[in-house]
Symmetry: C2
Subunit: 537 residues, 2 copies
């Protein structure tokens, strides 16, 4: 052992002693952490520069994290199949041409595979484009599908914010020609069910409609060729004050400031769905724009379904500042935020042209992208919208003339953010996470009893009971207890020579307070153990 | 519609009519298929060469296939966790250096990511190397882990044989210093449980030991530097006759024919575990080689556990011709074959130097790699072995001096082959696979009743019942019945205005023969529907 190892061991013992004595050990903990970090760093730079690490922006999900993710996926999958969804599994890479021209300026973040003499391929950037490609390629006219898988973006990773180069997406989409807002309403219900069942705390779903936004831009006088650019400026209102957004519109994007101010009159409008709808429906100038009128009609139908059929309208905030960055949306758009993550006094100030309050707040904590993360919190936790043309874009680009449009609406749940919230809560509760599901630890007290433990475990496995034992011929008692404790295994089955001879094992439930003398567990006949445990597990 | 479309439609109607009349429609079916194939081909070559397809060697798993795979994964996952395994989730790409030098001549099949100014990365080739990297990187000394994920190989794809460039692997490994053959025996039990529960039919697990093989090579006089090359020639004995393998050893690899013949005396030995063991233990020359002696001692312990503790020794064939290609194995090696896929009269002939029988057979169906696929069938369905040095290779290459060896033993289940067997069986049974799990289809007869269907479905969803309805305001009855039939939904809930007014819906079980007049389902009060269905589902 190196002197550093020695010092770490010394500190560990001191910390343990201080903790037992309920005294402050923070100084010792800090020193130990610093030494360990240095050790890790030293270890990283091996001979000939060989580093034992994962690529930048990726990470290993360790067992406890992988298990929590598995639970999240199971919850979501169960909701999706309850609503009749099928799943598909597409390749992790697509032909480069399939992804080209779908992500605007973010296309630079696409990972390409090396040209090794064959087709040019790229790792998928999201799950929506592969879905649209699948629907177009197979001539599908209607489908409900979900897809939980990893996607790839060569972004600058910010590990502490959970922004990674490899991360999970979890998408649910409905494709097909249906009556207005019926699938949309169900997607909204599904989103609500997901966030409720994931128990991430209170949330709000911000909702808007691309046609209403386009109507506002048209009314304000935005030139047609600037609409998408101005729209993506509006989308930053949850992160930037109106003054900054206006500056982007006018200085960067050359919009007439008078037009920008007209937009400013609208994009601050937000609130309870019915109220905002009534206000906008009462706006004669806006209703004279056919696009806006169509969007408002959609919202009226949608709110009706959400209120009267699904009873979830209270979750929604009709928010004119929500624009969503992606080009392909054509109808409703939405974004769920946890209440902690929604800024307290949001873009409302912008409507009155008063950007000071928010501006000041934003100035406090601005990250490397100039985004105020303190106001954004964990950020939007789910988002999506209606995209009616994407499938047909693929079909047409490939030269097939489809007589029928295949409109789609979908939502993507931000699994990584859900994970971050749940993991943060667990840490706050200081609970040690379980990383495995073992129910019974089979141990020997006296004599090793390896074949007996193996046979006994086999009996449990055959009954579907999750069981383990130590792979040693003569394991020591403390070592076996330590594993059972560390893995938080609920039951311990104790094999001992004298009891075995009588056909008996002792079963002890862990972590249960007992009266003195009652701590040796219950004696159970070997051939009744499965029955005994099945009743209790 | 094009003339081709018209002709296809015409054929479809004719086929339908012929089928109704129970007449032969095969000629029409063939013509239609040919036309459709041509259409698909035409569709593929879009304007400017844009092709709507997935990359070579990959495929979309469509819903029914994805659902069957999900069931396979669930079965395996349940077995793994029953044995106390944790899962980890590693990135789909690793640093290129991590994979380098691990796969021998197959390294040319590794997919590299394009160098976009950063680290050089490659898609993972298997799950074993990432596991060893993870164990070494995190200083882990013991772990049971499983991992189900896709791996990537730039091989020449043979779709019909299921050889793809992207495919699933499903690995279970035990790392740690334990008593001899205890984890090995459990891995063998797990493999047996997996194959039994997957219901792939009868199977045999071929087993051998690297140390015994090395002992045979030493005894025969193979120079130390040729041992791995000769070993990989031996491994081809399940696909090639002895004459060809001997030729590879002597002509290609420069081995003295006398030495090759000495090897030939051993590699034909195979059979019931105890018998082969007794025969080899009685071979004094072989036992004088320490490596062989050590391997035979291991096998004696293992067979004891497999027979007396786990009762599965009957599944095994102790087979001297099994060598396994990978360099890193150090102990037992094994390969499971379904009984259909194991050659009937295998390498036994080779032992007597008589290669005629097998040579003739192999000559009949030889694929593009010169491999006799008829003899191999669906091929090995699972394989693995003990690898005691891989973790430490990583640790040492990165410059960390580990005092302790971290030996490992593991198995990889060939999920794609399991899938192929199960899918083939389903086709043989001519059963249409379900692609979704919907339990109740909610339909309206008369009046559309859209909000009522939505509210009714919400009631079912809230109770966790998987339900769907048609997203149309006024759907037609035949269209609704068609969906319920096509998706094989077990229950149909029929909403009709008059009954609804009385608070009643009709619930009809599909696919059940009923007496005439009893086919309208049962009338159930709306607020008792959940209870009614829960009892039946």
């Amino acid at each position: 052992m190196s002197p550093v190892d020695d010092r770490i061991k010394e500190l560990q013992e001191k910390i343990k002693a201080l903790k037992v004595a309920k005294q402050d050990a923070s100084k010792e903990v800090d020193e130990m952490k610093a030494l360990k970090a240095q050790q890790t760093k030293d270890k990283k730079d091996g001979p000939a520069g060989f580093q034992l690490k994962v690529p930048k922006g990726t990470l290993d999900h360790k067992p406890a994290a992988a298990l929590l993710r598995k639970k999240i996926f199971n919850t979501l999958e169960n909701i999706f199949t309850t609503h009749g969804a099928e799943t598909i599994d597409t390749p992790v890479f697509e032909l480069k041409d399939i992804l080209a021209g779908k992500y605007g300026e973010d296309s630079k973040l696409i990972y390409d595979l090396q040209d090794q003499g064959g087709e040019l391929c790229s790792l998928r950037y999201d799950l929506t484009v592969p879905f649209a490609r699948y629907v177009a390629m197979n001539g599908i006219t209607s489908m409900k599908r979900y897809h939980i898988a990893k996607v790839y973006r060569r972004d600058q990773p910010v590990m502490s914010k959970g922004r990674m180069r490899e991360f999970y997406q979890c998408d649910f989409d409905i494709a097909g020609n249906y009556d207005a807002m019926v699938p949309d309403a169900e997607i909204m219900l599904i989103l609500t069910e997901c966030l409720e069942q994931l128990e991430i705390g209170d949330f709000t779903i911000k909702i808007n409609h691309r046609k209403i936004l386009d109507g506002i831009f048209e009314l304000a006088g935005v030139p047609a060729d600037k609409i998408r650019a101005i729209s993506s400026a509006v989308d930053k209102l949850d992160k930037l004050p109106w003054a900054d957004v206006k500056k982007e519109m006018t200085v960067e994007k050359g919009l007439d400031p008078v037009i920008a101010d007209r937009i400013g009159e609208y994009v601050g409008i937000k609130g309870e769905g019915r109220e905002v709808l009534a206000r906008l429906q009462g706006d004669e100038k806006l209703n004279s724009i056919p696009s806006a009128k169509a969007g408002l009609d959609d919202m009226a139908i949608l709110f009706d379904y959400l209120e009267n059929c699904y009873g979830i309208l209270g979750r929604f905030s009709f928010d004119m500042s929500l624009a969503r960055g992606l080009d392909y949306y054509t109808g409703i758009i939405y974004e769920a935020v946890t209440d902690g993550s929604a800024p307290a006094a949001p873009a409302a100030a912008a409507a009155e042209g008063d950007a000071k309050t928010k501006g000041k707040k934003a100035a406090k904590v601005v990250n490397e992208d100039g985004v105020d993360e303190s106001a954004v919190g964990v950020g939007s936790i789910a988002a999506g919208g209606r995209y009616d043309n994407l499938v047909n874009m693929f079909a047409e680009a490939a030269g097939s003339k489809r007589s029928e449009l295949v409109p789609c609406v979908g939502v993507s749940i931000g699994v990584e953010r859900v994970y971050a919230i749940l993991e943060q809560r667990r840490r706050a509760e200081a609970a040690k996470p379980r990383s495995k599901e073992t129910q019974v630890y089979v141990m020997a007290l006296g004599g090793g009893l390896l074949p007996e433990r193996m046979k006994f475990a086999k009996q449990l496995w055959d009954a579907g009971i999750k069981a383990e034992f130590m792979y040693k011929a003569k394991p020591k008692a403390p070592a076996q207890w330590a594993v059972a404790d560390n893995d938080q295994v609920r039951y311990v089955a104790i094999l001992a020579p004298a009891e075995l001879a009588k056909g008996i094992v002792r079963i002890k439930e862990q972590g249960v307070e007992r009266e003195a003398g009652q701590d040796n567990g219950e004696e159970v006949e070997i051939d009744k153990v499965v029955e005994y445990l099945k009743q209790r597990l």
